[in-house]
């Protein structure tokens, strides 16, 4: 068969569209876009080249339509978002394609998205409040990144209400159990010498992290009191069965404890007149006033609450 020059006999327009563009994406995060190119004549466009270009004209990615549908072809494309936060508009091109006797014209469409900072959420727990003035205050500082970055080794500081730094540290290397990415550090600090409620704040320095992070300081509060001088043993029983009640929450003044298997909570408390409260789910709440003048044992019987 003699070779003849191939002639293009038909020209088809194409139309490109982009779906699943995220409104906002974390810096450096993955964007999964769906690109669809259609031909009004219903041609199979599998293999058609696709190019993604940024606003400067620099190429971001190149790929080909990977599957065909009744009126063209489509592609699921994963792109890495820029590292710098801001507004972005990129353009997707379907490149002109000649096959046998059909010329498919190229087409393009713009799409926009916002790249945002990763945000670090700081939290403080396990605060030993109330704490005797000058005693060791235990706190645990934790942080998590909204994009799940590792925060291992993230430096942080703790400041008092006047802005004086009272402690500094780094988050540990392990992820807190049950979490996807909370890194933490336990600290022992010197409690202030004055009695009262103290509002301190934890701040972190994310500048060394790979992507831009914003971190909001986290306030936490604790209370200092005169060092407790008396031991109060509270024994909690079920009024009817006379059996000890575990897991009852006991408070004498500001001091709290939880009863053990024997129904006993031992609290170190300051002297003086204060409220004794005992509560346990499923039982009636109990409250009375006690005058603590020395070491004491107090027996409390709780009636079953009217559950229904």
């Amino acid at each position: 068969m003699a070779e003849v020059d191939r002639e293009v006999v038909e020209t088809h327009e194409t139309r490109i569209s982009i779906a699943d563009v995220p409104g906002a994406i974390d810096a450096g995060g993955e964007m999964a876009l769906k690109i669809d190119v259609s031909c009004p004549s219903g041609c199979n466009l599998q293999g058609m080249a696709i190019k993604i270009v940024d606003s400067q004209g620099d190429e971001i990615a190149e790929a080909a339509l990977s599957s065909a549908d009744e009126a063209g072809g489509e592609l699921e494309l994963s792109l890495k978002a820029p590292v710098e936060p801001g507004e972005y508009t990129w353009t997707a091109f379907a490149l002109r394609q000649e096959t046998e006797d059909i010329l498919h014209e190229g087409s393009s469409a713009e799409f926009s998205f916002t790249v945002k900072h990763h945000s670090i959420s700081l939290t403080v727990w396990g605060i030993s409040s109330p704490i005797g003035t000058g005693e060791k205050l235990k706190v645990t500082v934790g942080g998590a990144c909204s994009a799940n970055c590792s925060l291992a080794g993230l430096p942080f500081t703790i400041e008092d209400a006047e802005g004086n730094q009272v402690a500094a540290g780094e988050l540990g290397q392990e992820v807190l159990p049950q979490t996807r990415g909370v890194y933490w550090r336990e600290l022992e600090l010197d409690a202030p010498g004055e009695e009262g409620v103290h509002n301190w704040v934890v701040k972190c320095d994310p500048s060394a992290l790979e992507f831009p992070h914003q971190a909001r300081p986290c306030e936490f509060a604790f209370r200092t009191t005169m060092p407790p001088e008396h031991t109060v043993t509270v024994q909690v029983f079920d009024l009817y069965t006379e059996l000890p009640l575990e897991d009852a929450n006991v408070m004498v003044g500001l001091y709290r404890g939880v009863t053990d298997q024997e129904g006993i909570a031992i609290l170190r408390v300051a002297g003086g007149k204060q409220d004794l409260c005992v509560s346990k789910q499923g039982y009636d709440f109990f409250q009375t006033s006690v005058d603590i003048t020395g070491d004491e044992t107090i027996k409390v019987e709780l009636p079953l609450a009217a559950l229904m």
Partner: protein, 588 residues
């Protein structure tokens, strides 16, 4: 009949009233009353499949009490129960099994006043609802009489019940009501078998041996297993026999019931009377839609019997009964979860009882992320609010035009998650195995029933992504709410809502969790109107002959309610209905 203070109903007016009451329903047959008396009424069966003097519909606490009392008054009794015997879970059985036992040393007159205040508020100058002038005085008298016998009635059925748990004493719920001090109405008391304390606490109550039953299981066991099956085998029970309609004569008189048994209709003749004790409408979609405030179907939850679909209320409506305060619920806010496709299609979730509503390391917020109440009033039975809290939860945010507290969100932290199950695993829908739950709560978390996030901000995003939040959650507000609450914990005082300090504890340790809470609770309270005799009333306030009602279907507590009130009235009103039903002369 008992005479009402406000309306003495003589035999003559009783008959006249009945005819008037029936007119609306049987207008067609009233055209020439009497003229066609000899002609067979197509609504009256030619042949009866079963018969008894008194036919009781529903075998919960009220039905059982009615059956026992009617039997002991000399009547033959047949009970129709829609559930199967092996899976018979009445609301009584699924409840906490608590009731009222006023101190006999209390003043009787004061007791009547106190009860009247709970029932209708008639004697409270500031009361705003609960009006039942046609029944209030006689009803309070009847109840004041009956309530003193509840404990003894239970013990008479089941001598192994522990009298100690039933001991009168303590403070009743409403110190602001007339007669509070002198009545010595007392705290809610507990029903359990003597050996309950020896039971393995890790077993659900219903799995413990017979003698160690507690809560609603004890109540059910005492009345149904001991009171009826053991002590009164003459009371016949037909399980899996749902009643469908009442058989009425043209004058409105109820003479039987049409029910379904083994896939066919059966006619049950009630020679003396029918007692409706079919419970509330907790799982009726149309009734929830019709009666409950706000999103009544999707936005409410109940944790009692799934069989309570308002059957008796519907039968009563068709028979010309008046409705009374139907929207009332013994409710607060409780969690609810999906229960299989058929229920989800209807929009219904299944409720259960929270065990974390006012414990340390948790707060409850609205859809915007704000706390709106002292969480402890939801669970504290020593204050008057627990059973009215649903009114707070269905509050309409007029400016935003949303029910901003439906659902509410229990926000808690890892400390609480690890410490205890956040739902009650011993009773209700978890206790009876309707909902799966693991003690560490992880099963519910892995199912997505409880949301989990590393930070409060991420938790807020997850809440916002839940369609029921309608994108109202504000991450900053939620974080600020928790920060403020945590500072109150350090201070030892909740400066916003004055929550009980021992119930507080900071929400601080990641991960953080969110569980949806809906208005709801154990049961609905409103339904058919009924008088002190427990005769069902028509819209003119006149009794429908030979029709009685007791229990949730026609609760006497129209104004407010102390925990255990519904079980108490099951016995008081069930007995009253059974006794009055048995007293009637048979019609044929």
């Amino acid at each position: 009949m008992h005479a009402s203070d406000e309306k003495r109903i003589s035999r003559r007016s009783f008959i006249k009233g009945s005819a008037i009451g029936a007119a609306g329903v049987f207008a067609g047959s009233m055209l020439s009353p009497g003229a066609k008396a000899q002609q067979a009424d197509p609504r009256i069966p030619q042949k009866w499949d079963y018969e008894a003097d008194v036919v009781v519909l529903g075998l919960g606490g009220a039905g059982a009490s009615a059956a026992i009392e009617a039997h002991d008054s000399g009547a033959s009794v047949l009970v129709l129960e829609k559930q199967a015997e092996a899976t018979h879970f009445s609301n009584t059985r699924m409840s906490g099994g608590v009731f009222h036992n006023p101190d006999p040393a209390g003043d009787r007159k004061a007791l009547v006043e106190y009860v009247k205040a709970m029932m209708c508020g008639k004697n409270i100058p500031w009361k705003l609802e609960g009006e039942q002038p046609h029944v209030s005085d006689a009803m309070a008298e009847m109840y004041a009489e009956g309530v003193m016998e509840v404990a003894d009635f239970l013990l008479a059925q089941a001598p192994d019940l522990d009298r100690k748990g039933m001991a009168p004493g303590g403070k009743a719920s409403f110190p602001m009501f007339p007669g509070f001090e002198e009545a010595k109405y007392g705290r809610t008391v507990f029903c359990g078998y003597k050996d309950l304390a020896k039971a393995d606490p890790n077993l659900p109550l219903y799995e413990r041996p017979r003698l160690t039953k507690g809560s609603g299981e004890a109540f059910h066991w005492a009345l149904v297993e001991e009171g009826i099956k053991t002590k009164r085998p003459g009371i016949k029970i037909l399980y899996e026999t749902p009643a469908k309609s009442l058989v009425q004569r043209p004058n409105g008189e109820v003479i039987g019931v049409i029910a379904t048994k083994d896939g066919r209709e059966v006619a049950v003749k009630a020679k003396k009377a029918v007692v409706l004790a079919t419970g509330g409408f907790e799982y009726s979609v149309p009734m929830r839609r019709a009666f409950l405030e706000g999103p009544g179907v999707k936005g409410w939850c109940y944790y009692g019997a799934l069989a309570n679909t308002g059957d008796g209320i519907l039968m009563g409506i068709v028979a010309g009964a008046a409705l009374s305060k139907v929207a009332k619920s013994a409710s607060r806010i409780e969690p609810a979860f999906p229960y299989g496709e058929p229920w989800e299609k209807l929009g219904l979730k299944i409720g259960t009882m929270s065990a974390a509503t006012s414990v340390p390391h948790s707060v409850i917020v609205d859809n915007f992320g704000e706390r709106y109440a002292d969480e402890h009033i939801i669970t504290d039975s020593t204050r008057p609010y627990r059973y009215q809290f649903y009114k707070e939860a269905v509050k309409y945010d007029m400016l935003n035009m949303v029910y901003s507290r439906v659902p509410s969100w229990l926000i808690f932290d890892e400390t609480l998650r690890a410490e205890r199950p956040v739902v009650n695993m011993n009773i209700s829908t978890v206790g009876y195995g309707f909902l799966p739950w693991s003690r560490d709560n992880m099963d519910a978390i892995n199912r997505g029933w409880i949301l989990r996030a590393d930070s409060l901000e991420e938790l807020a995003q997850k809440i916002q992504a839940d369609p029921e939040n309608r994108q109202l959650m504000d991450a900053d507000r939620l974080a600020e709410t928790v920060r403020r609450f945590n500072s109150y914990c350090a201070l030892g005082k909740d400066e916003q809502f004055n929550r009980t300090p021992s119930t507080m504890g900071p929400v601080e340790k990641p991960p953080f969790y969110a569980m949806k809470m809906y208005p709801g609770g154990p049961n609905t309270k409103g339904g058919l109107d009924a008088n002190a005799d427990r005769s069902v009333l028509d819209w003119n306030g006149n009794p429908i002959p030979r029709l009685f009602a007791a229990g949730e279907i026609a609760s006497v507590f129209k104004f407010t309610y102390q925990a255990g009130g519904n079980l108490t009235e099951c016995i008081v009103c069930g007995r009253q209905a059974g006794r009055n039903a048995a007293k009637l002369a048979p019609w044929g």
